[in-house]
Amino acid sequence: MIMERLDLPVPGLLKTILKSVLYKEPNNEELGFELLEGENEGVEQESPQNASGKGDQKASTGQRDDSRQQGNAEQKRNDRQQSDTNHQGDKKMQGNIKTQRKNFRKQPLKVDEWNGNRKTENTGNTCKPQNNSDILSTELCSNLETIRQKFLIPKNQDVITREFKIGRKIKAFMVYVEGMIDKNTMNLAIFPHLMSKDVFEEIGEDCPVDYLMENVLTVHNVRKTDKYSYTVMQVLNGMSALFVEGCGECILMETRGFEKRNVGKPITETVVKGSQEGFTENLRTNVTLVRKIIKNENLVTEMLPIGNTNHSNCAVMYLEGIANTKVIQEVKKRIKKIDSDFVLGDGMVEQFIEDNPFMLFPQVIDTERPDRTASFIMEGQVVIIAEGAPFALAVPVTFFRLFHTSEDSFVRWPASNFLRYIRLLGLFCATFLPGMYVALTLFHTEMIPTELLIFIAGAKELVPFPTILEVMMMEISFELIREGGIRVPSIIGQTLGIVGALILGQAAVAAGLVSPLLVIVVSITGLGSFAIPNYTLAIAVRIERFLFIFAGAVLGFYGISLMAMLLAYFACSMKSFGVPFLSPVAPKTNVNPDVIYRHPIWSQKNRPDYMNAYNRKRQGNNQKLWISEDDQDKKGKEDKT
């Protein structure tokens, strides 16, 4: 309103006075880039190649630019209306979007303009990019244009097209992504051979691709293809493609050499005894690390693509003849059914393929350790390694397996059993202790020894809060410390967190905020949850703990048992890839030498029954064999004497 009034033709002086008196709305509409209300929100992006409604969209984009320049509010409103209509139009198309999604790939606009500009500058040749077909053209320049168009060259600067002549005769060019390839291979093994004079000693008239592959290129892995899409994928994966004049095929060379982390120690699963190798972010390396341990021809690695846009890969590994084919089929089916633009790492894959996404408990087991992965494979489980995170997933999994660590099999059985029971105790404390404390102090005071009770009551006198608030305060601050401790850079974070907890506990007691016994309860709970080997399970337990605190506060032990049984019912109804979550205890299956109590390694003769592995037998009568051999030796000696 005021703005409009200001626009009136008023003499200069009056205008200045008015300006100083009247309130003027600050002109702060263009504060910066604002994405939230973009025109194409909620609309599937379309690729320029097969866009029918492209012009429409473009028009709106142009209009937007105009409105930006003018900064006029009225026009902007118009613009928004228009985009709304666009939106409605697009909504009609959403029905067949799903079918479309698989066919095209998202590419920014204005490619044609770029190409158009460049064309006029260039040779003036009438080479046209192969827009309609996925098949390579026999004309080199056409191929070049297509490739350039596909990789958005020259806007995209890390894809390199290197033009040269093979043997100083035939025109050719190479495409590769800078940084993804090994420069040494390129400089020393490919270009010198291709560009040397004596390449074509015995060449015929026809396409030299086969000749080149057989005689010239000294690269270990060479393939040829006649498809653009495949070529583009492989180039993006780090291979380099060689296009030759007059050939409808190109040569893909394995020249991968990108930067990657070295194989280091596993960070989340450290052990005292056992292998100190951990996975890296590189899929190939990870698969190799597993293969290095299982040297068996039956170890199958199937590569499946995941992620529609980021084109990530994941490997499904299993031991043919041992892993159950139903599980393998199911895993492959579920992975193939993932329809998502961006999938990276095992964490995302896990969420896409798990059976009961609403349960707290993890239904796959992840590990950072190749040796543990190998042991999963040997048990008959199927392992999924996704690109981008140093973890492998194994399915199917049961509750009890989440408690095992790789150290269990490396130390002798009394030790491993002891450690395992400590871990179970940790789980028990982490789940029930705070809830029990609340229930005991609120409902079942008779269970507390009298002297302790009097002491707690005396300490509680000074605390103004009800028990439940006290417990929640401590638990939540503990969770904060733990979460903060992870975010603190460097490994000191953990230590800092614990120190913080101690200081907080001490200070809270001194300040009369909580009773001292509670600090002990909370810290034992924390220690217990640290002892749980599986991180996902540990988080689940951390959440469950709060449920038990509430249950205990409302109905004492009755509430706790109801909550426990509820969780037990849910856990019993869960399945992980066809295997009941609580097997082999419920339902009971055959001999299980390694559930909670771990038998000595030589007596673990069979694979777990619930996996339904094809080959149940894992090992023979180890100890017995050499004992009986010794006996025979003795007998032999006695016979001689």
Partner: protein, 366 residues
Amino acid sequence: MIKEGKIGVQEAICLVVISTSNRVFFTAPTVVQQFVGTAGWYMSLVSDITAIVFFTFIYLLLKRFPEKDIIEIFHITFGRSIGVFFSYIYATSFLAASGILLREFYEALKTFIFPYTPISILNGTMVILVTVSVFLGLETIARAAKLVAYFLLFGYLILLILSAQNFRLPYLFPILGYGVGKTLMEGLTRSSAYSEVIVLTVFAGALQGAKHLKKAGYISLVLSGLLVSAGILCMSLIFPYNVFQEQTNPLYTLATLIKYGTFFQRLDPAFLFLWIIITIISSSVVFYCAVTSYCKTFRLQDKRPVIIPMAVLLFTITMIPRDLPSVITEYIELLRTYPIFLFYILPLIALITAKLRKKKGGNINA
């Protein structure tokens, strides 16, 4: 038909043992003691043997109709109309049994732990849990029963062993109680204390064969007979008969008596978990049987729409009894003595009818 899944023999045994031996945790031992005095511990064995004999008939009936459950067999042997009538009574009595079981439990809970909490809160939370369990299905209940069976057995035995410090052998005498005749008579009539074995027949289809049913039935009857008898024996060793007859919940009182030093005493709330979990499992399975037998009676394809109305009924039935004495003297007596006709005699009649009418399994529903 309703998907029941498959359960193994071990899970079935756990289910039956838990739901039959829950008696020992409530007023039943006291009532037994009031009838037979010091002879209670072997009277329960007499009942057990009677139940085993009756179970043999049930087994013979189910063997005749392999892969069929009792409701279907009723339909086959008695024809649709009478079959529906009997099956309906079956479903109703299961519902009543689970309701009274819960009520008995709340009475114990209110006496010893929560004197001021309204029974509707205790009941509401429990019924919600039981309903959830029935939604999740038989497989889940059976697995949960198997999972907790270890803890329950361990806890129960620990409870009995720890109470050994208070045992006094003379309390078992006079050894014959109120006389052999009375003991035998009571033993026979109270054999329906083990009538929960009948739940096996309701989900006989899930057990995969009469052979498994036989194994599960006999083993669980023997096991629960031993457990109940051991419990009553321990209680008789601690309470002389005329004090025993006074106890509202003898086993809980037994737990309060445990005392080893200044720390290890007053531990009864820790044993409370036994009471609660046993009640949860047994009421879940009995309520499940009520729901499925109702569905099977009227050939409903899906049990889920029935569950919530039945849960409301369960809640209501639990709230019906006016006071503790009426729970014990009227409702429980009703449930402990009369089911013998329903659960034992009825299958017997069905067996005889099947023999007379020469009906056999396999050819119906083909």
